[in-house]
């Protein structure tokens, strides 16, 4: 106990020095840090969204909705295929995650040996589709599990990509976009001014299509049940500025051109009105050209997320592969639409499961409150230790100082995120860290009381207290680890500071304190221990 090997001393001093060096940048404003020479550490601990302000969004890819849409398409193509093959059926419908129908003259089909052919017909609709035909002619079509898993994964991957593009377009700095679990995406947007706007952008699927308007029937009639086959009724984008326009449109389900062939979209002005200009790739441009050539004089609908933005009449074939969408845009909504079209459509709608947004000034207030609480707590503990343990209390306080420095240095180097509960964790660890000193000092007092000599009391105090300290720290670590594993966001931050704090206090309370006591013994050669 009385002797420290030189290399041990070196390590202890080094660790303490590292703690100080890497924690100090946190006390200096970022602007001053910039001006310092390059070899100095400049990294600061990264603050959580609850401290720096920003938005935390947990999104879920609504794969069910995408699947439903897909199955509806299957129904459409099944209808056409069955009609062409002259096969009678009833009850063609989507039921949960499958399409069901009943073949009408199944005995006849069986008699003619056409069952295989019918099966092939269904398989041809979509290679991933697994048809099962019961003996009573009942057919179910569903996607294989492998296909479902692959599609689900692809949908999430693609969504992440699209979200990243949209977020980047808004100019948000350092966003975090990552997959969480099977079909969730965590988006963290630090320091954004207008979270509502970003949320709005993320919440839109932005699926754009160009479809012909069916002028043979009025929307009102179609709604009453006279919907021609192959048509659908779509509502108009709510539009307060042009009250004369229809509420609904009857449009052909067949898509002339879809938005995924767009290569560019920009907001611009036409006749002093905000509009969005767009450009197709070569395939889309050709398709658009052909479609407009065949339908001159007819209106077509520009459909965004199942709402008709506008339905202009085709005056002449549009062959250049570019065009303009006019609607009732504001400058902002034109900019947004252009952004969404550039970034691309989401493969499935996104649902916001959880949102936590903190304004920047509340974050600043939280930092202030947390820091104040921390400082007051530490000062109280420091005074307490001096009052109850005198000189040894000062040793403990110096160890506490290094403990805090090493802890913050670790947090900085590990790139851990500091949250408000994390600051609470720091305050708490400081209160708990001196427990090790208390244990050691009380033990020394006890040993002295039982009549041991000064040195052997010191020795026994450190030795005997060690096992206890280790046990009591491990139990706190267990709680910390579980919190980290099962907590979320800010709570994780708490678990990190608590766990790191437990480890650093093990080092500082035992080794740093002992080193000080040993040096003091060597230097002053005291006759009694002031405990």
């Amino acid at each position: 106990m009385l002797h420290f090997q030189t290399w041990k001393i070196a390590i202890i001093v080094l660790v303490c020095a590292f703690g100080v060096i890497f924690s100090v940048p946190n006390l200096i404003p970022a602007s001053t840090l910039e001006a310092l020479p390059g070899f100095l550490p400049k990294r600061q601990v990264s603050l959580g969204l609850d401290l720096r302000g920003g938005s935390h969004l947990l999104l879920e890819v609504d794969f069910g909705a995408a699947l439903k849409e897909r199955l509806n398409n299957v129904i459409d193509s099944a209808r056409t295929a069955l009609r062409n093959a002259r096969i009678g059926y009833t009850g063609l419908n989507v039921e949960g995650d499958k399409v069901v129908l009943a073949l009408r003259d199944f005995d006849q089909i069986k008699g003619q040996g056409r069952v295989e052919e019918v099966e092939k017909l269904f398989r041809d609709l979509d290679p991933d589709l697994v048809p099962t035909i019961g003996s009573d002619g009942q057919v179910t079509l569903r996607y294989s599990d492998i296909a479902m898993t692959a599609r689900r994964k692809a949908a999430v991957d693609q969504s992440i990509e699209i979200i990243r593009r949209r977020v980047d377009e808004t100019g948000t700095k350092e966003p975090t976009i990552q997959r969480q679990g099977e079909d969730r995406i965590l988006v963290q947007l630090p320091g954004i001014d207008n979270p509502e706007h970003v949320k709005q952008l993320l919440g839109r699927t932005a699926k754009m299509t160009f479809q012909l308007v069916d002028t043979s029937v009025l929307p009102e009639e179609a709604q009453r049940g006279r919907l021609p086959p192959g048509d659908e009724i779509l509502p108009a984008e709510s539009d307060a500025r042009r009250p004369g326009l229809p509420q609904n449109y009857v449009v052909r389900k067949r898509v002339m051109v879809s938005g995924d062939t767009l290569v560019d979209a920009q907001p611009t002005f036409q006749n002093n009105e905000p509009v969005v200009s767009f450009k197709f790739d070569s395939v889309g441009g050709r398709r658009f050209g052909d479609a407009t050539k065949e339908n001159v004089g007819k209106p077509f609908a520009i459909v965004l997320d199942n709402k008709v933005i506008s339905a202009p009449v085709i005056r002449e074939p549009i062959l250049g592969g570019s065009g303009i969408i006019s609607g009732s845009f504001t400058a902002q909504s034109a900019t947004d639409l252009a952004l969404l079209l550039r970034a691309g459509a989401l493969p499935a709608p996104l649902i916001i499961l959880e949102e936590r947004t903190v304004g920047p000034d509340l974050g600043a207030d939280s930092i202030k409150a947390g820091t104040t609480a921390c400082i007051v707590g530490v000062v109280l503990v420091i005074i307490f230790m001096v009052v109850f343990y005198g000189l040894f209390g000062i040793f403990a306080d110096i160890a506490l100082f290094f403990n805090m420095a090493i802890m913050i240095g670790c947090l900085t180097l590990l790139g851990a995120t500091l949250t408000l509960p994390g600051i609470a964790g720091i305050a708490l660890t400081m209160g708990m860290a001196v427990d090790a000193n208390v244990l050691i000092y009380e033990r020394i007092r006890e040993e002295m009381r039982s009549g041991r000599s000064m040195l052997s009391s010191l020795d026994a105090g450190f030795k005997r207290a060690f096992g206890t300290i280790l046990d009591s720290h491990v139990t706190t670590l267990v709680a910390g680890a579980l919190l980290y594993e099962l907590g979320s966001g800010p709570v994780k931050g708490f678990a990190v500071t608590l766990s790191i704090g437990v480890l650093t206090s093990l080092f500082s309370a035992i080794l740093v304190t002992r080193l000080q006591i040993v040096s003091w013994l060597h230097r002053f050669r005291p006759k009694i221990i002031p405990l």
């Binding site: 947004t357 109280l380 109850f388 209160g431 907590g487």
Partner: protein
């Protein structure tokens, strides 16, 4: 510099004489807690039940709660509550979980924003859908149970199984009564509260371990001492440390309670209670329980020797 010695002589408090009163008191607390939990239930924050929480600050004059309440009631968003929060300009608005799944929650925030107008700045918005809430409850309960089991397992591993049981019972007591405190006073129970409860479990066991350590040591030292007397001696010898440590931790927690702001209030209350009750339970539950589940004496020799080697090597 002469330090203030807290207990100059080892005290001789007869804890074992008081332990039955302690058991009765704890039983009462536990029954009350469980009763309150089952009858009144916890006042779950939106973390667990879903819903909307908005911290708003009126930019001009102090917030007019009545006016804001009226505006929000007019939206018919179901159960809502408004309360002052810190300064007179700050208001905490809570909306119950909106019917209609996850998407409906977001809509209600926009409705409130539109209704309150521009004179109110939203400082914090938290929206938790029902799905996430259920998952968080499950994760929270799981974390607490796992923590208790892991701690008991560690104590069993380091001591004898009898100590493990004693530690688990007294830690459960602390966790249950902390939850009970939140049920009885209807304090908001949210994620940070849960973090506090797990920390309480960690702290309480820490305290218990220190005392058990001493009991084990005393068992080794005085092989024939009567068990009640042995527990009393161990408790008295560690009493000074027990009290000093609870004081330092309480100082840190108190400063969090006073200066840490509204967000940390629930956390600090849970911690403060937990630290006090954890200390109490180490003295009056964990240690006396050993008298009833009597660890074997003499069987510890081997383990004690192991522990001794560890201590030698590290120091």
């Amino acid at each position: 510099m002469r330090p203030l010695v807290f207990l100059r002589k080892t005290p001789s408090i007869d804890f074992m004489r008081l332990h039955k009163a302690g058991f009765a008191f704890s039983l009462l607390l536990t029954v009350l807690s469980v009763g309150a939990f089952l009858s009144i239930g916890l006042n779950y924050g939106i973390d667990f039940v879903g819903g909307v929480l908005i911290e708003a600050r009126s930019t001009g004059a102090p917030a007019d709660l009545a006016d804001m309440r009226q505006k929000i009631d007019a939206l018919h968003l179901g159960e809502s509550s408004l309360q002052g929060f810190g300064s007179p300009n700050d208001v905490l608005i809570r909306l119950a979980r909106q019917p209609g799944g996850d998407a409906a929650q977001e809509k209600s925030v926009n409705a409130v924003r539109a209704a309150l107008g521009t004179a109110v700045e939203f400082r914090r918005v938290e929206v938790v859908g029902p799905k996430v809430g259920e998952e968080l409850i499950r994760a929270g309960v799981l974390a607490t149970i796992l923590a208790l089991l892991a701690i008991a397992a560690y104590v069993w591993f380091r001591f004898e199984w009898q100590f493990g049981i004693g530690a688990m019972i007294s830690t459960m007591h602390d966790v249950i009564t902390t939850v009970g405190l939140f049920a009885i006073f209807q304090l908001e129970f949210n994620l940070t509260t849960l973090a506090a409860i797990l920390t309480v479990a960690g702290y309480s066991i820490n305290d218990t371990v220190v005392i058990y350590d001493r009991v084990r040591e005393t068992m080794r030292k005085y092989k024939t001492m009567e068990f009640k007397q042995l527990i009393n001696l161990s408790l008295n010898e560690t009493l000074s440390r027990t009290i000093l440590t609870v004081m330092t931790v309480a100082l840190a927690v108190l400063s969090l309670l006073v200066f840490g702001g509204e967000v940390l209030r629930g956390f600090s209350i849970a911690m403060l209670w937990g630290v006090v009750i954890g200390t109490y339970s180490s003295l009056f539950i964990a240690a006396p329980l050993l008298y009833y589940i009597r660890p074997k004496r003499g069987g510890e020799v081997k383990k004690a020797a192991d522990a001794g080697i560890v201590a030698e090597r590290v120091s």
